[in-house]
C-alpha cells in the first residue's frame, strides 16, 4: 500500500472514532445532573425564565432529537452556538486553539531539547555516576504536580529574575514566545523523564547491535556514530512514547493553562463543563478527538519515515 493510500485509509478511520466520541460525550454531559439555564440564571431562576431558555436552546426536546440536530449541524460544518458566550462554538475553538497548540509545540520542542542530550550522555556512560544522576533527577520532575512546578518556575524565573512574564499569553509572536516558555517548560519537565528513559534504553540496545560494532571497527568518529547510526535508530521508540503521550499531554495542558492563565482550549473545556455549556463541550471534545487521532497518525507516518522496515499496511 502506498503511503498516501495508508493516510487516506487512516483518515477514514477517523470518522467512526470521532462519531463514537461525540455519542459518548453527548450522553455523558446530558445525563449528569446540572442545568445550564439554572446555572446561568442563578438565584434569579424563575420557572418561567428557565422554560424560556430551555425552549430557546432546544433543551425541551427529546435527547435523541437533540443529538440528531447536533449531528445535522455538524455535517453542515456548524458546531452550534455557545449557550453562555452566545457566539458560535467554532469561533471560540478557533480563538482558543492557538494557545494550546503553541503550548504543545513548545513543550515538545523543549522536551526533545532536554531529553536527547541527557539520554545520549547517560547511554554512552552506562552505570556511571552521570547515568545514575540523569536517570534519577528527572524522576523527581515526574513526581511533582504541574501546578506546583509552574508556581515554582514563576517564583524563580518570572518574579525574582523578571526574565519572563507571570502568566498570560502575550501579544505578537515575540510576546507568545516569551510567555509560553515557562508553561512549555512545565509540561516538558513532566514528560521528559519518560522520554529520557525510553531513549536511553533504546540507545543502549542500538549501541550493542552488530552494525554499531562494525561502524566502530571501521573507525567512524564517535559523534558521527552517535548521530547517524545510534540516535537515528534509537529515536523511533521515543517518537512512539511522545505520540502515545500526546493524549495525556492535551489533558495535562489543562492544569498548566490554568496556572499560567493561558486562553487555551483546556480552560475553555473546563468552564464549559462547569456551566454545562453543551455545544462547547461537544465541540471541544470533537476537536480533541480529531487532534489525538491526527497526532497518532502523524506518529505512525513519522515512524515509517524513520524506519524503512516499517510497511504501510
Amino acid at each position: 500500500m502506498s503511503r498516501f493510500a495508508f493516510v487516506r485509509r487512516r483518515l477514514l478511520h477517523l470518522v467512526p472514532v470521532v462519531l463514537g466520541v461525540t455519542v459518548l460525550v453527548f450522553l455523558m454531559i446530558h445525563l449528569v445532573p446540572g442545568d445550564p439555564a439554572r446555572t446561568m440564571l442563578g438565584v434569579h431562576a424563575t420557572d418561567q425564565a428557565v422554560a424560556v431558555l430551555h425552549h430557546q436552546w432546544g433543551l425541551d426536546r427529546p435527547l435523541p432529537q437533540q443529538y440528531l440536530l447536533f449531528l445535522g449541524r455538524l455535517l453542515r460544518g456548524n458546531l452550534g452556538d455557545s449557550l453562555f458566550y452566545r457566539v458560535p462554538t467554532a469561533q471560540l475553538v478557533a480563538e482558543r486553539m492557538p494557545a494550546t497548540l503553541w503550548l504543545l509545540a513548545f513543550a515538545t520542542v523543549l522536551a526533545t531539547v532536554i531529553s536527547v542530550p541527557l539520554a545520549t550522555i547517560a547511554a554512552t556512560r552506562r552505570n556511571a555516576l552521570r547515568d545514575h544522576v540523569i536517570r534519577a533527577i528527572p524522576l523527581v520532575g515526574l513526581g511533582m504536580p504541574p501546578f506546583w512546578v509552574g508556581i515554582l518556575l514563576i517564583l524563580a524565573l518570572a518574579l525574582t529574575l523578571r526574565a519572563f512574564p507571570v502568566g498570560g499569553y502575550g501579544h505578537g509572536i515575540g510576546g507568545h514566545l516569551r510567555s509560553m516558555f515557562l508553561p512549555g517548560l512545565t509540561v516538558a519537565i513532566g514528560i521528559s523523564p519518560l522520554l529520557i528513559r525510553s531513549l536511553r534504553a533504546s540507545m543502549l540496545n542500538v549501541l550493542e547491535s552488530e552494525y554499531v560494532t562494525t561502524a566502530r571497527a571501521k573507525g567512524l568518529p564517535a559523534h558521527r556514530l552517535l548521530l547517524r547510526h545510534v540516535l537515528h535508530n534509537a529515536v523511533i521508540p521515543a517518537v512512539t512514547v511522545l505520540g502515545i503521550n500526546i493524549g495525556f499531554l492535551v489533558g495535562g495542558t489543562l492544569v498548566v493553562e490554568n496556572v499560567f492563565a493561558l486562553p487555551g482550549i483546556g480552560n475553555l473545556m473546563l468552564t464549559a463543563i462547569f456551566n454545562r455549556d453543551f455545544p462547547v463541550v461537544q465541540g471541544v471534545t470533537l476537536v480533541f478527538g480529531v487532534l489525538v487521532v491526527t497526532v497518532n497518525l502523524l506518529t505512525d507516518v513519522t515512524y515509517a519515515l524513520l524506519d524503512p522496515r516499517v510497511r504501510f499496511d
Binding site: 438565584v43 452566545r86 523578571r162 502568566g167 486562553p263
Partner: protein, 538 residues
C-alpha cells in the same frame, strides 16, 4: 469624589433617600450633601478607598485580573458579575447607586417630578450627554432601552414589572407610568439592565450590537479575546469633562489564585479581584500592595428545605440556627474578615435593622428548641456541598459538628457546583448553602426573593411562607412613607429570624488587592465601581 463635582457643577443635586423621596437642594446644600456622601464612601469600619494623593494624573492602562471570564455584554439577560461590572463602564443609567449603597443619585437624568397619585414619573435628562459614537443621547434612546429591558422575559424584565409604559414627549423628557404606586422605581432604574443604549441599537441587530456595545459611559469598546482579555478604551465624548483619567482598562482571566497574586506583586496587573481569604493577611503586609476590604452586600445562608418533614417544624429550624457558631465560621472560613449575620438583609442595604436580634449562637437554647420539636431525639439528614469549594467544605464540617449534640446526624453530599445549583432550585436537597448580593439600592428585590414564595425563587428555594411577612412585603413596595417602610422592614426581619427560615451565617466584604499606584478605586456595596474616577500614580 465624582458626586461632589457633579453637585457643584449642576448647582443642585437630587438625592433619593432610602424611602424614595427626592430632595432638591441648592448649590450650598449640594456641597454639604456631596461631602456627606464622600464621607460615607470613605468612612465605615472596613471601607477603604485608595487615597487620592495629589492631583489626578491622566493616562495609563489599568489591568484587572479576575478568576473567570465574562459571558456576554447583553445587559438585559446576563446575571454574572464578571459581565455586569464591565458593561457598567459602557452603559449608564438614569440614576446610579450612591457610594455607600444607601440610595441612588441622579446620573443621566438630573431630576424627576412625581405626580400626586404617585403613578407618573417625569424625568429630566442631563444635557450634553453623547454616546461614544458622538451621537447625542435623547429620550428616544431612553425609551428604547427601558422597553428593551422590560421585554427580557428570561432576564431582568421582572425588575421593571411595575412599569406600565415609557413615553418620550420631547428629546430631554421621559415619562414613566407605573401600574401602581411603586416606591423602588428609582432604585430599579439604577439597575444596569436599564442602562441606556442607542435607539434601535444604532441600526445594528441586537446580537451584533452586544458584540460591540455602544453607550454613554466613560469607556468604549475595544476588543474581547474570550478566555484571555477584554479591553475598553477612553470614551473621548464622555460627558464628565476631563474624565476618565485612564487611557484603557483591561480585564484579564487568571483562574489560579496564586498566579493573580504573583502578577500583582510582579506589576503585571494593578488589581487582583477577590484574592482568597487565606492570603489577605500576607497581602496586607506586602509593600506596594493595598488590601481593600470593601463593605459588600454579600450574605451567606444555610438553606433548609421546608418541603421536607423535619424542616417544616419551626423548632427544628430554630434549634439548627441556635446551634450555629457564626463567630467560629468567620474565623475559620473568612480568616476573621467578616461578621456574623443577624438578619437575612445585609447592613449595606437601606432599612437593614442593626438591632434586629436575629438568632445567635446558644447551644442550650438549641437543645430546648429541639426538645419542643416533633423530633426531640434528632434525625439524620444530608447537607449538600459544592465539591472543591473550600468555603462550603469548611462550613459543612463546622455545621456537622455543631448539630451532633442535638442528635442531628449530618451526612455531607458532595456534588459539583452546577449540580448543587440545579438540585437546590429543584428542591432536590435537604440542607444546602446559598448567598445573596444586592442588585439594587432598595431592599425590595431581596425581600421579595427571600420571603415571598410566589416570587420566582420560592423564598430562596426553601418554600418558606408566612402570610404576615408576605403581606408586609407587598405593603412596603407601595408605601412612599419612609418611616412606614422602615417599620415594615423591621417587622419582616424580626419575624423572618423568629421563623428561622434560613440560617443567617455571615456578612463578608469584597476583597480587592491592588497596587498602591491605583487611586480613586471604590466599590459600592452592590459591587459596582466607577472607573472614570480611577487614576494611576507614579
Amino acid at each position: 469624589m465624582i458626586r461632589s463635582e457633579l453637585a457643584l457643577r449642576d448647582g443642585r443635586i437630587g438625592v433619593m433617600d432610602a424611602g424614595g423621596w427626592e430632595m432638591r437642594v441648592s448649590s450650598r446644600w449640594g456641597l454639604v450633601v456631596a461631602l456627606a456622601l464622600v464621607a460615607a464612601a470613605c468612612g465605615g469600619g472596613q471601607s477603604e478607598q485608595t487615597g487620592s494623593v495629589g492631583q489626578p494624573r491622566r493616562g495609563g492602562d489599568l489591568v484587572i485580573a479576575r478568576v473567570a471570564d465574562s459571558q456576554s455584554m447583553d445587559k438585559t439577560t446576563v446575571f454574572d458579575n464578571e459581565s455586569i461590572w464591565i458593561f457598567e463602564q459602557v452603559f449608564e443609567t438614569l440614576y446610579t447607586v450612591r457610594p455607600d449603597g444607601q440610595g441612588v443619585i441622579p446620573w443621566l437624568a438630573t431630576s424627576y417630578d412625581l405626580s400626586p397619585d404617585k403613578l407618573t414619573y417625569t424625568f429630566h435628562l442631563r444635557q450634553g450627554v453623547r454616546f461614544s459614537t458622538g451621537q447625542p443621547m435623547t429620550s428616544k434612546d431612553v425609551k428604547f432601552s427601558i422597553d428593551e429591558a422590560r421585554a427580557a422575559k428570561q432576564g431582568w424584565g421582572y425588575i421593571d414589572t411595575a412599569i406600565k409604559d415609557v413615553q418620550a414627549p420631547d428629546p430631554t423628557t421621559v415619562v414613566i407610568h407605573t401600574k401602581f404606586p411603586w416606591a423602588p422605581l428609582l432604585a430599579d432604574l439604577a439597575l444596569f439592565a436599564n442602562g441606556i443604549v442607542p435607539s434601535n441599537y444604532g441600526g445594528a441587530s441586537k446580537s451584533e450590537f452586544y458584540q460591540h456595545p455602544v453607550g454613554t459611559g466613560p469607556f468604549k469598546w475595544d476588543h474581547w479575546t474570550k478566555g484571555q482579555e477584554l479591553k475598553l478604551v477612553r470614551n473621548p465624548n464622555y460627558w464628565q469633562a476631563g474624565k476618565p483619567y485612564l487611557n484603557s482598562v483591561t480585564w484579564t482571566v487568571v483562574g489560579d489564585d496564586n498566579t493573580r497574586i504573583l502578577q500583582l506583586k510582579g506589576g503585571q496587573i494593578q488589581i487582583d479581584e477577590f484574592p482568597p481569604w487565606s492570603s489577605v493577611a500576607s497581602l496586607k503586609s506586602t509593600p506596594g500592595v493595598v488590601m481593600g476590604l470593601l463593605p459588600s452586600t454579600r450574605t451567606d445562608y444555610l438553606v433548609l428545605n421546608e418541603r421536607l418533614a423535619p424542616f417544616k417544624d419551626v423548632h427544628v429550624r430554630r434549634a439548627i440556627s441556635y446551634a450555629l457558631d457564626r463567630e467560629a465560621m468567620v474565623r475559620a472560613v473568612l480568616f476573621g474578615n467578616g461578621k456574623p449575620a443577624n438578619s437575612f438583609m445585609p447592613p449595606q442595604v437601606p432599612f437593614y435593622d442593626s438591632s434586629s436580634p436575629g438568632i445567635t449562637h446558644d447551644p442550650d437554647q438549641a437543645k430546648r428548641e429541639m426538645a419542643q420539636s416533633s423530633m426531640p431525639n434528632g434525625f439524620s439528614t444530608t447537607l449538600m456541598v459544592g465539591a472543591g469549594t473550600v468555603t462550603e467544605n469548611s462550613l459543612a464540617q463546622i455545621i456537622q459538628q455543631a448539630l451532633k449534640p442535638l442528635g442531628i446526624t449530618v451526612t455531607l453530599q458532595r456534588v459539583d457546583p452546577t449540580t448543587e445549583f440545579t438540585n437546590l432550585q429543584k428542591f432536590d436537597y435537604q440542607m444546602g448553602f446559598s448567598y445573596w448580593t444586592m442588585d439594587i439600592a432598595d431592599p425590595d428585590e431581596l425581600v421579595t426573593f427571600a420571603v415571598d414564595p410566589t416570587s420566582g425563587s420560592h423564598s430562596f428555594f426553601t418554600d418558606y411562607a408566612n402570610k404576615d411577612v408576605i403581606g408586609w412585603t407587598h405593603q412596603a413596595q407601595r408605601s412612599f412613607d419612609v418611616a412606614q417602610r422602615r417599620q415594615l422592614y423591621n417587622q419582616i426581619q424580626a419575624q423572618a429570624a423568629k421563623d428561622a427560615f434560613l440560617g443567617f451565617l455571615y456578612y463578608s466584604p469584597y476583597a480587592y488587592a491592588y497596587s498602591s499606584k491605583v487611586n480613586g478605586f471604590h466599590v459600592t456595596p452592590m459591587g459596582n465601581y466607577h472607573l472614570e474616577d480611577v487614576w494611576l500614580g507614579g
